[in-house]
């Protein structure tokens, strides 16, 4: 069984490794360099707690999978370290949302609990002196130094004999009698395979549509900035959603990595940084954590989230094209979900059965429904039912 995997990101590499472990052939096609276009340099967050039950169950299992990644990558150190996740809240409605979710988190063993303001400030002392905190949720989490994890996968993939087509753009899936049989490359060649997997990250929606199947995913830009290093001043990963979504944490090297989202960020492929982002992020961050003001920003960059209408990934066969599989639509959770999703999809491709947990993520779930990805807006509303 030979799979052609379009996209050399974390999902594509993880799938290639899982397939090789099951004795299947895999070729990865990557248009730029492995990992190009991602947003997560140094800040892959492995978090168990999510806002809905299906995502929480899947994320808990995905987090457990991360604990075995060092073994999977054959000793290449992925620099995963366990820490805590602090979701900082600034108004009562947020606290109510969290309180309502606690029974679900307990039933899923998400290891997250609502806490008061004092406990939040103890966990993240740099928030002292900033905008008054109403409370928060503290949960188990891990931070993966994304490049290290990514390169551990890359080195392992090479060792396992995964074939690479680097610097090659995949144009579209080629079909015979309605079934996927390969991929047309920009240089005119065709790579043939028994199945084709779309793991193209931010390009996944476009690649699916170019291949003649309907796919709702859209890329949306996310910007990041990084400061020069400091001695450790915080350990947990911090996220907040008021006045708008933002996050920050300190890397192993001691840099602060942070971003505050523009609620009106338009959909579409855009990997360019913006000047406005700098002012916005610095202001919102200092309102919350004034001590960070002395840190100097050295660089900013941007990548895209591949977003679906229900913020859930697409994993499985496209109903319109047998032999063509999706492994995308991470909606910002690629580092968390990709290793587990790749394992489950690899087992399915190798004929070892379809895992029940993948059912909610079937690419066919939007068929016949009039859905579209919407711009960011309020974070919580994206998960309202």
């Amino acid at each position: 069984m030979h799979s052609v995997i379009v996209g050399g990101g974390i999902a594509g590499l993880a799938l290639a490794i899982e397939l090789r472990r099951l004795g299947c052939q895999a070729t990865v096609v990557e248009a730029r360099y492995p990992g190009a276009g991602n947003t997560t340099r140094n800040v892959g967050r492995i978090r168990r707690m999510q806002l809905t039950q299906d995502l929480t169950e899947f994320s808990c299992r995905a987090s457990d999978k991360w604990r075995t990644v060092a073994k999977l990558t054959g000793g290449h150190n992925p620099l995963v370290y366990r820490t805590r996740y602090v979701w900082v809240m600034y108004d009562q409605s947020e606290l109510d949302t969290a309180a309502a979710m606690q029974p679900m988190w307990i039933s899923c063993n998400a290891r997250a609990r609502p806490v008061g303001a004092a406990e939040v400030l103890n966990a993240v002392p740099v928030l002292r002196g900033g905008e008054p905190v109403a409370g928060g949720v503290i949960g188990d989490a891990a931070i993966v130094h994304h490049d290290a994890a990514f390169y551990a996968y890359l080195l392992r993939a090479r060792e396992l004999g995964v074939r690479f087509e680097l610097g090659q753009r995949a144009l579209a899936v080629q079909t015979t009698a309605g079934r996927a049989t390969g991929v047309a490359l920009a240089d005119g060649r065709t790579l043939t395979g028994d199945v084709v997997v779309n793991a193209a990250g931010g390009m996944a929606g476009q690649f699916a549509r170019d291949s003649g199947v309907s796919a709702p995913n859209q890329p949306v830009r996310r910007e990041v900035l990084v400061t020069e290093p400091s001695k450790p001043f915080m350990t947990p990963a911090v996220t907040f959603y008021r006045p708008q979504e933002g996050w920050f944490n300190q890397t192993l090297r001691g840099e602060l990595v942070a971003g505050v989202v523009d609620v009106g960020e338009p959909l579409g492929m855009n990997e360019a940084s913006s000047f406005r982002f700098l002012g916005r992020t610095a202001r919102v961050l200092l309102e919350k954590a004034p001590r960070l003001g002395e840190l100097k920003v050295v660089r900013q960059w941007a990548g895209v989230y591949d977003t679906t209408p229900d913020k859930r990934p697409l994993i499985g066969e496209y109903p319109e094209c047998p032999g063509f599989f999706a492994l995308n639509g991470w909606s910002g959770r690629g580092m968390l979900l990709a290793p587990l999703s790749a394992e489950l999809l690899a087992r399915q491709l190798a004929g070892r059965g379809t895992d029940r947990m993948l059912e909610p993520f079937s690419p066919g779930r939007f068929t016949g429904r009039d859905v579209a990805v919407t711009a960011h807006g309020d974070y919580y509303s994206g998960y309202a039912h």
């Binding site: 450790p232 002012g279 992020t281 961050l285 200092l286 309102e287 960070l292």
Partner: protein, 429 residues
């Protein structure tokens, strides 16, 4: 004074020139290896002399001379730097991090080995959300037909952005937007044409000892000389191309310095333990300062705007602009295309990147592992990602890639052109 020097400079004494006068060249330690570092560029671009002060973090070369300097000589953590040096690049793949149960604990412990300064215990100003009526700096947008960045001669009129005049070009963004930081806040300048005249930076020789305190750029020598930081009779070794010899000699004459060695061929090594003591060039030549007058163009803004740069093929390789969009003009030494000195093979133990302590040998090991693209090397080793943002090291990194037979790949520069504190950036954007 060089009219095209990229950076604010004045002849008033700075903390760095005071350090030279005192003979204490070491200002800080590198954050990973805990190696002593001293002022290098004198103009605020290299970030090797950044130190914690009562006002936050300042560059010794920009801070007033009465600023209290930390004393980096006694560092109880220095032995940890030796340990860190045994885990190239950075601490990936280290066998010491096994068994898995210990990995978490050791990674958390590793964070504390850094020589980076701690965060100040209290905010240095009132939190901005508390300041009534003014939440942050204003963010404004404006239009200009022609923008000129840098202090080079440009006869045409235009909207001038010049660090020497107090306005910083933070970054060049797509759709022809220049981000400017000044006393008026953050301004996004939409322009039709741009002239980039940002001058040049010094190039470090790829030889052992190139990170020692006492290795100075020619620009720094002029700045510290003018500020009275150089004792008459100071013995200097100068690595200079022919066309820079006059400049070095004039500077030495002006400040009564003794040139003990001057050549366009880099020496075999720079010697010394805590500072420069001598060079090895056909025998040992004692000196107090090693001055590099080899220059490379300041190309980061042009790259951000979509220009391309390639490694020069004659002499010591430097990065020079090879293709620019039709709305951009690059002038002066920012557009120069050669270093003017003979190439020398890079030594394994020489530093390619000072900000992240990456040696040439680390780069070679990384390339042998298959990370043979500049973007991969950057993420793997940290080279080009430190506070200088590749101004000192990009050419060295690409030169190592070329020596190892890798295909040339485009180099990317991202904003910001210079580090800026979050406090200065906070704006109503």
């Amino acid at each position: 004074m060089n009219a095209e020097s990229p950076g604010p400079h004045s002849s008033s004494p700075s903390a760095a020139s005071q350090a030279l006068t005192d003979g204490n060249l070491a200002i800080t330690r590198s954050f990973r290896f805990h190696r002593l570092r001293g002022p290098l560029c004198g103009r605020g671009y290299c970030y090797q002399c950044e130190m914690p002060t009562s006002r936050g973090r300042e560059l010794a070369c920009q801070a007033p001379s009465n600023t209290t300097r930390p004393s980096p000589r006694r560092d109880p953590l220095r032995p940890l730097g030796w340990i860190a040096e045994r885990f190239p690049p950075w601490f990936y793949d280290s066998q010491a991090l096994r068994p898995a149960r210990l990995r978490d604990a050791s990674l958390h412990a590793l964070r504390f080995l850094s020589a980076a300064p701690p965060l100040s215990p209290a905010p240095l100003t009132e939190p901005i959300w508390k300041v009534a009526g003014r939440r942050a700096l204003p963010f404004s947008e404006t239009s200009a037909d022609h923008v000129i960045v840098g202090s080079g001669d440009c006869p045409e009129p235009g909207y001038r952005v010049d660090l020497a005049e107090g306005s910083l070009a933070v970054g060049l963004y797509p759709d022809r937007v220049l981000g400017v930081l000044s006393v008026h806040g953050l301004t996004a300048v939409h322009f039709r044409r741009i002239t980039i005249s940002t001058g040049s930076y010094e190039r470090l020789p790829p030889i052992i000892g190139n990170d020692l305190p006492g290795v100075l750029g020619i620009g720094a020598l002029e700045v510290y000389g003018a500020a009275g930081g150089l004792r008459p009779g100071t013995r200097i070794a100068v690595w200079a191309p022919r066309h820079q010899r006059d400049r070095a000699e004039a500077c030495a004459r002006r400040h009564a310095l003794t040139i003990v060695w001057m050549d366009e061929q880099a020496p075999e090594a720079i010697l010394g333990r805590r500072r420069v003591r001598a060079i090895a060039a056909a025998g040992r030549i004692d000196c107090e300062l090693f001055v590099t007058a080899v220059r490379q163009p300041a190309i980061e803004l042009a790259l951000q705007g979509g220009a391309t740069a390639e490694l020069s093929t004659h002499g010591l390789p430097i990065l020079a602009i090879t293709g620019i969009p039709d709305w951009m003009q690059v002038t002066g030494s920012a557009a120069a295309d050669t270093s003017g000195v003979p190439d020398v093979p890079a030594q394994d133990r020489a530093f390619a990147c000072l900000c992240e302590d990456v040696r040439v040998g680390d780069l070679q090991a990384c390339i042998r592992q298959g990370f043979s693209h500049p973007e991969l090397i950057k993420r793997r080793t940290g080279a080009m990602t430190g506070p200088c943002q590749g101004k000192l090291c990009s050419a060295s990194v690409l030169a190592v890639l070329r020596e190892m037979g890798c295909a040339p790949a485009p180099i990317r520069a991202r904003p910001l052109a210079r580090p800026v504190s979050l406090r200065e950036l906070a704006a109503d954007a």
